[in-house]
Every structure is written in C-alpha cells, then in structure tokens.
C-alpha cells in the first residue's frame, strides 16, 4: 500500500506519522531527539511503521469472525510482547557495548573484575526488565534509555557495594555505551519480532496459534510502500532529503490541527523550546503566526527546569499543581529567575503545589501574549504540543481564554503531540499524489 510519512524533529522529541493514500492516519511513532537527528528520525519512523502494522493487524483481526471480539486483547498482548522483543534486542546491544567499553576504562586496574561485574548486572537487568513487560504492568516510559538507565543504576550500585568496584567506573561504561546504542539505527527486522511476539502471546494466553498466525501473517505481507516523506521542526535541515520535502513547522502545525479539528481557527502549540500562536483559515492554510523570539522561557523546557529544581519528575508537576488551593504569583519572565522566585516563595512558607500552580499560570500567560500578537483566539481553539498533556496548564489556559475571549470551544487531542507530523504527512500525501499524477506513475 502507498504510504506517506511526516516527520517532526522537535527539540525534545521526534515524531513520525504515516497516512495512506486517502489521508487516513495509519500509525505514529515518537522517540527522544537525542543529539542525533538522523537516528531520531529513523527511530520515530520505525515506531510509526510498528504502529501502522498494529493498525493493519487490527483491520485483519476484525475481519476474522472467530477473533473479532478478542481483537483488542490480542493487540494489546501482541504489542506488549513485541516491545519486549525489541527491548531485549537493545539490551543485548547495550550489553555488548558495555563489555567492549569495559576495556577502555582507565580508572580501573582489574578489568576482568569489571567485566564480571557487568555480567552480573546484565543478568539481573534482563530479569528485572522482562518483568516490566509482564501482562498488566504499567511502565513509566517506553523509551529504552529511561527504563534501562534506572535499572542499570540500581543494579550497579548493588554490585559496586558487593565487589568494592567503583560505581563511577560502572556508570562511565554505561554512559559511553548508551550513546552508542542510541545512535545506532534500529535493526529493521520487525516482521521476525512480530512473529516471535506472536509465539509468546499464544504461549502465555492460550489463543490458538494457527488461527491467530494467519491474519497476522497476511497483514505482514502487506507492503508499506514509502512514497513521499516530508520533514518539519527545528532539525528539519538535517533530514536526509531534498529541500522540497521540507516544510516549516508553522504550516505543518496549522494543517495538522485543521485535520484533527476542521473547525480550528486558532492553534496554540507549546513545545520544548518554542511557543507558536497560529491563525488558520477554513482549509488549514496559515493566515498569521507568532512565535517566541530570543527567549524560550514559558516553553516545555521551563517546566523541565522547574521539575529539576524541585527534584521532581516532569510528569508529576501537573498533578501537584492541581492540588493548589491558592494563587501564588510568579512574575519572572526568565526560567532561571523563576527558579530563584520559587526558592524565595518556598522560604516564605508557601506550599509547593501553590507555587507550581503559579508557574503553570506564568507559562500560559506568556503563551496568551504570543497568541494575542498573532491575532487573538477565534473559535475553535486547538491546543497542541507536549504541554497540552499537562492538566494544570490546560486548566489555566481555559481560565484565561474564557476571561479574555469568552466562550470558545477548546480542542485538545490526546495525540496532539503528533500534530506537526500529521500536517507534514498530509503535505507528503499531497505532494506525492501530485507527483504521481504528473509522471503518470510511481513517484518513489
């Protein structure tokens, strides 16, 4: 089948979306951007291909009468086992890299002891991490680095204590290795992993192997033909394709928001290091836009910085702010100063949740100023980007929109992080089908 791909290279994460010839979204993928955009775009694309395969499985399973009712459960299990397969492969790579890098650590005399310690660490890691993929277990993150990293820290701390080896040396080996593993493009052997995952699923759940295998294999046979790719986002110049395949993220966000909510007239996107206020017409064409200039205070990274200052996880900030009962005003327009204000308020005895709620309000106030510069909020208003997932930010935004612009429909899609990539995929589809019409054949 003909597929069109949009890739959005963000400062924090890289996203990919795949659409079919009719513009229907088939799958999406996300990964951390690292400092290597090439790998990030490959990984995000691979993730989108995986998600597309799952969509295709779903379609096939739905058409198989005896499996129709079990489709959701089967897919959940299949994805879980597939993730485990993928994860174990990466863990193996990490293991190999660590073993190689153990020889380069200059601070340790006994290298054999270091290698032995690593063996021990990886044994416990495999067990521990496999349990993270057991049925029904909720994972904090799907990123390999997040999961493997924290488990490695824990295991190596214990091993260091037992063996008397330096913890720092073990950490050093990990740091070197994880970068190598992450910057290696993923192996493309997805089909094999899906089949291995299927074996696991049937073993664990008791589904009839042959009956399930047929629709999965049929779906795997379907060729995902990459006809045209469009890249967007800050890293877009790094994408390995020609200039015509690159679109500004403003246009992609505008179009993406229009596709998600056709009534959209104003889009607010708060990403890692930029905030965009975009006005679009009834076809998703951008009429005006404003972005933060020179300073990225009030973007996602601001919250990341505050989370670090408070020694909290980024995802804990929103829920904590929701507990707030009184308003604390944070005036600073600078991220670093906001950190100082935060400590000042803490010293004055303000509650953490009230201060954090104040910080969320400060972010949204900055965003409101950018929106008003772009022409204000018109009905409907679509909020996208990583910060749209933060309930406290959304709460403040709703309040300020009502105060300033009255009753306006506010759209927030749970997948809003893919808005830019979706717009890019649609641009790819339009360019791809046009090129196809022009040449009367296959544009790829």
């Amino acid at each position: 089948m003909k597929c069109y791909i949009g890739i959005d290279l963000g400062s924090t994460t890289t996203k990919a979306v795949i659409v079919d010839e009719g513009g229907e979204a088939l799958g999406h993928g996300i990964t951390n951007s690292r400092s290597n955009y090439d790998t990030a775009s490959k990984v995000a694309k691979m993730e989108a291909v995986i998600s597309t395969r799952l969509t295709l499985f779903r379609q096939r399973l739905k058409c198989t009468p005896e499996l129709k009712d079990d489709t959701s459960q089967l897919l959940t299990e299949l994805e879980r086992c597939f993730r485990l397969e993928l994860f174990l492969e990466q863990l193996e790579e990490l293991h190999r890299a660590c073993a190689n890098n153990a020889g380069t650590v200059s601070t340790v005399d006994d290298r054999d002891a270091l290698r032995e310690a690593l063996e021990e660490i990886f044994q416990s890691l495999a067990q521990k991490l496999e349990s993270l993929f057991a049925p029904g277990v909720a994972r904090k993150s799907n990123f390999f680095r997040d999961l493997a990293g924290s488990a490695y820290m824990q295991a190596s701390e214990e091993v260091a204590k037992q063996t008397g080896l330096s913890f720092d040396a073990l950490l050093n080996v990990y740091d070197k290795s994880i970068i190598q593993v992450e910057s290696r493009p993923p192996s493309a052997n997805l089909d094999e992993k899906f089949l291995a995952a299927l074996d696991r699923v049937t073993e664990e759940t008791g589904f009839d192997r042959e009956r399930v295998r047929k629709p999965v294999q049929d779906a795997l046979k379907e060729d995902i033909e990459e006809c045209y790719t469009v890249g967007t986002g800050y890293g877009r110049v790094r994408l390995p394709f020609p200039k015509e395949h690159i679109r500004s993220e403003i246009l992609c966000h505008g179009l993406g928001a229009h596709l998600m909510y056709p009534g959209t007239r104003t889009v607010l996107d708060i990403g890692g290091q930029d905030t965009k206020g975009i006005q679009v017409d009834d076809t998703g064409i951008v009429a005006n836009f404003q972005m933060n200039d020179r300073c990225a205070a009030g973007c996602g990274r601001y919250l990341g910085y505050i989370a670090d200052e408070m020694n909290m996880g980024l995802h804990e900030l929103g829920p904590m702010a929701m507990k707030s009962t009184r308003t604390v005003r944070i005036n600073s327009t600078c991220t670093v100063f906001a950190g100082a204000e935060l400590r000042d308020r803490l010293a004055l005895g303000e509650k953490r949740e009230d201060i954090i709620a104040g910080l969320h309000r400060a972010i949204v106030l900055r965003a409101m100023s950018i929106i008003s510069r772009s022409g204000g909020v018109s009905n409907e208003f679509t909020f996208t980007g990583g910060v749209a997932k933060n309930e406290a930010a959304v709460k403040e935004l709703r309040k300020l929109v009502v105060e300033n612009y009255g009753d306006v429909t506010i759209n927030i899609d749970p997948d809003s992080i893919y808005t830019g990539a979706l717009g890019a995929a649609e641009f790819a589809r339009r360019s791809g089908t046009q090129a196809s019409l022009a040449t009367g054949g296959n544009p790829s």
């Binding site: 403003i250 246009l251 064409i285």
Partner: protein, 428 residues
Amino acid sequence: MSKESEVVKESSMLMQKEMIADNYEALTSTAESGRKVASTFVPGNLNELIMCFGMLNNLPEINAIQNGMRKKSGAMIMDAERNGHSEDVCTYVKADIGQMSKGNIAPNGKPMPAPDLLLLSYTGCFTFMKWFELLRHEHGCETVMLQVPYTGDGVITDNMRSYVIKQLKEEVIPAMERVSGVKFDIDRLRENLRRSAEAEDNLVWVLESAKNVRSPIDAYFGGVYYIGPIFTAFRGTREAIDYYRVLRGEIEQRIEQQLGPVTPEDDMEEERYRLVVEGPPNWTSFRDFWKMFYDEGAVVVASTYTKVGGVYDQGFRHDPDHPLESLAEYCLGCYTNRNLPNRVDMLVNYVNDFQADGLLVNSIKSCNSFSAGQLMMMQQVEKRSGKPAAFIETDLVDPRYFSAANVKNRLESYFQMIEQKRSRIEAA
C-alpha cells in the same frame, strides 16, 4: 557567507565606497585642514546648509552602522554597558559611546575629531535628544536643537513650517555662522539644493524600478546602498549627482538585460516572492540576513527604512526657489516624523503599487521609538491589502540580538505561507 574577494561590485558601489572613504579622510584630517565638523543625524540631516559654511558632516548613526558591518560594534556596546548604559538602550547610542571610549577611532583607523557643533534636528526619535545630551557632556561644544513638530495629525501645517523656518533663521544659521566664521549665503544654499533635487530625481527613478515584475533591484538590502549618498554627507554635492546618474544607468541596463537584483554572491536568479519591509535591517549579520532572502528568491520591492532620511518617492524635492521652506518641509516629512496612520498608508500603497506578496516587519529590539505600534500597523496593512504579513525581531548593531536560526525559521515559514496562499488562490 562569501568572502570579500568574491563579492560582486558594480561601478556605482565602487564610487560610493570612495566617496565614504574621502569623507572619513576629510573628517580625520581637520587638524591639518582646519575645517569645522558638525555632527548630526540622518533623519533631518541638513547637509546643504552645513555645506554652506564649509563644514564637514559627521553622522554618528553611520559610524555605528559602519562599525556594525565591520563586526566592531559588539565590543563597543559592551564597553558602553560597562560604563553603566543599560542593555535596553538604543544600540546605535551605545556603539557611539563605546567608540568614544575606545579612542574615538573612525572606520578608517584614524582618530575622529571632536565635533565643533552638535546639530540636532529632532525628527520623531526621542533617543536622539538624549544621545546628543551625552555627546554635549562629552565634548562641551556648541549644541543647537531644531525642534521639528511631530506630524501627529498626519499633515504638515503652515504653522509647523514657519516654526521650523524661524528656528533655522534665528538659531541654526547663527550658530553655524558662529562656529564656522563663515557668513550665510542663501545663493550658495540654492545651488546646493538644486544639485540635491537633481540627484533625488534619479534616486526615485531607481527605487521605482522595483515596480517591474522581475525587479532589477532589491529595495532594502540593495536599497541601503542606494540611499547612502542622499542620506549622508553628499546630498547637494556634484559627486551625488554623478553617483545617481551612474546608478540609474546600471539599473537601466539590468532592466534591458532582464536581470534581477545584485547580491553579494551573484545576480539573483528567479524572483519568487516580492516583499515590502518595514524597519531597519540588522547590520551585524547584514550579509547572512540578506542571504536568507536571496537564497529563497525573495526580493524586497519597497521598504520604509529607505525613507527615514527623506520621502522623495512621495513627491518631496529640495527646492532651490524656496530654500528654507524646503528644508523645513524635508525635516517635517521624514518617515520617522510621520504618524502611525501615515506609515500604514505608505505601506499599503507599497504593497499594492509594487505588486508585493506581503509585508515583513523587522522590529528592532532596542528601538523603543519605532517598535511601538508596529504590530498594529502590520495588522492594518494585512487587513487593507489582503496580503499576508510576518513579524521578526532583530537589532541594529548589537550582535547578541541576531538569532540566525530563529530568524531563518520565521522567514522560511513566511515564504511557505505566501506560497500556500498563492496556490489556494490559483485553485479557486
């Protein structure tokens, strides 16, 4: 960025380069020549009058621009900040203050003499007043301020005109006589003004040539070179007449050969976007900034910055038959002295008359005088012309405020936005 050796230079550019070098040479050899120096600003620059007294014209803004383009302004600004000038103060002022604290070396490497007269024509920029106060404090020389009423209602009244003329007669000319020891001769002024008008005719012809679709000039990046002589120490000189005659000849040839604008790298290839620009360019990354346009096929067909030293394209000419009246009219009409509705009218007319695809505002971070109101202006131009507009922020000569990645990102988005709108109109 291309190297100096690869930069294409037309003969008009070489002529101008020589004129500027000669003026700096004259300025830095007053100890030998005994000539007096008047410092003044570009908007409201009374060069014809200054010439009547045999004085030389030194323009601190131009020095700041020269230092900006030669990548020297950054260190000068830091120097001024060390001496207590805030980060938010106009960077032309700080570059000038910094230049003084570094021995007041002119761009030709020789020490600049202290001015004998500070001639402040106040034309809409309140910072100019404070700047000259600082200079007066530094040099302790004679200072004269020409109060030019702001055209807040959008019209020049007889009252305003006679107020300026009165000051010219009673304040400015006597001060110049005192400083130079030369008696004012109105016929000499008439002669200078006649030469000005002749050069101005050709300048306007050059600027209007951008109405050709496939414009032979860039009226912003190229435009800042074209306005050079008229805006500075050469209005009213024979050299300026020659310069504009040669320039016009070059442009006529370009039109004949159907060539696009000159760029630092080569003639511009395809003309893909025609823009009107409001606001001065960034000087510290001038070439990089320009490249972001010509690489994308964007030509600026009209700009307001090229009108800050006189609105000749709106019909104004220096008039030898009404010498003092026309100097007054000139100061009152400068773009910087125009009110917001007047500026909006000019921009809308430019978008329409030059068949532009839209308006770009380059707002200057440290210029409080002119950044105020620019967003409102942009929205009005958008509404009245129906063409898309965009807004970027940079600075004059402070290299810290030019964020290339951000500016490029905004520009590319804007160009693609124009493209998208166009294809929608074509599809309809």
